[in-house]
């Protein structure tokens, strides 16, 4: 059973974000994600978090497109936060050099500092995920690959990425077809089945999937060789777009944000913004 709209990918649309050059969006996403990853300055993270959600709303993405993945992300995030807490409930007080107990629970004693630390982790998700999702939904995969080349990654690797994006839907369809055929033969895949049967069953699908997909490598590379791919040092891209004023503003903004993070690092005397000391 599958629903085709759950394949998270590019959907053409109109609006400010769609009109930006793919390279711009890539650069913005990379720089801002890096900035949010590095800093633990809560004020910065809150500001970017709000900005991020605002951007997302602006693009008018339909809930249906992302509902599945958002649920997934939220589940994953909650699990990760839980694990971070369970493994070292004292991490917060170590970072912030103070201890204010909220709930007494022996090893699992919860401090405000720990909550604050987990809050920061949460904010990081809120900051980067909308931007990444926006990027995925508004960028044509070929342009994405071309934009990788623009920022200096070798065109062969960029092309490989384009190939990967192009073939994910095909291989996904192969997977479903094979899975259906195997289930019709009697292979058990459901959660009810014993673990060993599930493994065997999944293998029955994975093996043909892998081998038929490996065959594609031969046919496609022959096709590309016939078109003289790879014989020169550089490559022009059919889908390359030009930059306009908006692109420079957005990229400029990204650079500014990175500089802000550097400034904050200096102001906070380190990665962490510490309101407790």
């Amino acid at each position: 059973m599958h629903d085709e709209s759950q394949i998270l990918g590019y959907q053409p649309g109109s609006g400010f974000i769609y009109q930006l050059n793919a390279t711009t969006k890539l650069v913005f996403m990379l720089l801002v994600s890096a900035a949010c990853m590095i800093t633990y300055d809560t004020r910065f993270l809150v500001a970017i978090g709000i900005f991020s959600i605002f951007l997302f709303k602006e693009a008018n993405i339909k809930w249906r497109q992302i509902s599945f993945i958002v649920k997934f992300i939220v589940a994953f995030m909650v699990l990760n936060l839980l694990f971070v807490y369970l493994f070292q409930p004292t991490y917060g007080e170590n970072i912030y050099h103070s201890k204010s107990i909220l709930i007494h629970a022996g090893y699992f004693t919860l401090t405000i500092q720990e909550v604050f630390y987990l809050f920061n982790l949460l904010l990081k998700y809120v900051c980067s995920i909308p931007i990444v999702l926006l990027f995925l939904l508004t960028t044509n995969p070929s342009q994405f690959a071309a934009s990788l080349n623009r920022i200096g990654i070798s065109y062969k690797i960029s092309y490989a990425v384009a190939l990967a994006l192009r073939y994910i839907p095909d291989i996904q369809n192969s997977y479903w077809a094979i899975s259906a055929a195997q289930q019709a033969r009697g292979v058990e895949l459901s959660k009810k089945a014993k673990l060993s049967k599930r493994i065997k069953g999944t293998l029955n699908i994975v093996m043909p999937l892998i081998f038929t997909s490996l065959d594609r490598i031969d046919t496609i590379s022959t096709a590309m060789q016939l078109r003289r791919f790879g014989s020169k040092k550089k490559r022009t891209w059919y889908v390359a777009e030009s930059f306009n004023e908006n692109d420079f503003w957005i990229m400029g903004l990204a650079v500014v944000l990175v500089l802000v993070v550097v400034l904050l690092w200096w102001l906070d005397h380190g990665r962490f913004y510490n309101p407790f000391v």
Partner: protein, 252 residues
């Protein structure tokens, strides 16, 4: 991706029918088969011999309905031909002797008996196709659905597969074939269901599909060159001409 969802499709397939399912890509042909086999969910009912299939799992349905996919590589998961054909039986816990018997029987029907101890990787595309058909036949389903069984085959293999399917049909198996091949449709099948935009636009004799102007356009079928030939020579009844030619081919 299904652009136009399936709607308002009602049809009854009778035992012993040899049906062709035609239409443009994306019209709903494969979707229909997937619904029958239970791979995707649907509103509405699918009845088999009066029983509602909704209560049956994919595995249970596969005992009555066998679906042979277009790409044999998507169906094959074992190394040896014997193991591939035996897979369905082994998963249903038949004993060794029974399995051997049934597998050899299916291989014989499909003309693969001399290769019974070979690995699948040594076979040609057409032979692999026959292995997948054998693997389905071995479960003895009442209804056989084949998706483009002759696509990409040379003439010899094409006629071998089709005459063997014709034989099965004459022995009482109900067969449905998804095809783009108008010739196949006319020469072998006695009924055609045409789909367009998710709707069933015709359920009739194959010949009618190729001669009725309205239907041709809707189903995006191409008129046969026979019809065009008849028109060029300004024959009074081009339909009759086409029918006569096909009949003479059939009776050869």
């Amino acid at each position: 991706m299904q652009v136009n969802p399936f709607h308002d499709v009602t049809a009854t397939i009778n035992k012993g029918d040899f049906v062709s399912i035609v239409g443009q890509n994306g019209a709903g042909k494969t979707t229909l088969c997937r619904i029958i086999c239970g791979f995707i969910s649907n509103e509405g009912r699918v009845l088999f011999n009066g029983d509602d299939l909704a209560s049956l799992s994919i595995k249970e349905r596969s005992e009555k309905i066998g679906y042979v996919m277009q790409d044999p590589n998507q169906m094959i998961s074992q190394k040896m031909i014997f193991d591939e054909v035996a897979l369905g039986l082994r998963l249903r816990n038949y004993n060794k002797e029974e399995i051997k018997q049934k597998v050899y029987h299916a291989l014989k029907i499909c003309g693969l008996y001399p290769y019974r101890n070979w690995p699948i990787s040594a076979l040609s595309f057409g032979q692999k196709k026959r292995v997948t058909i054998a693997a389905i036949l071995v479960l003895e389903p009442d209804l056989l659905i084949l998706d483009e069984p002759t696509a990409g085959q040379d003439w010899k293999t094409y006629t071998e597969i089709m005459s063997f399917l014709k034989q099965l049909n004459e022995q009482g198996k109900t067969i449905m074939i998804i095809t783009h091949d108008m010739y196949l449709m006319m020469e072998y099948t006695n009924r055609s269901l045409a789909f367009a935009d998710g709707e069933l636009i015709a359920d009739t004799l194959p010949i009618k599909l190729l001669t009725e102007k309205g239907l041709i356009k809707k189903a995006a079928l191409k008129r046969t060159s026979l019809y065009d030939l008849a028109k060029k020579y300004q024959l009074k009844d081009p339909d009759a001409f086409v029918r006569a030619y096909i009949n003479s081919e059939r009776n050869k």
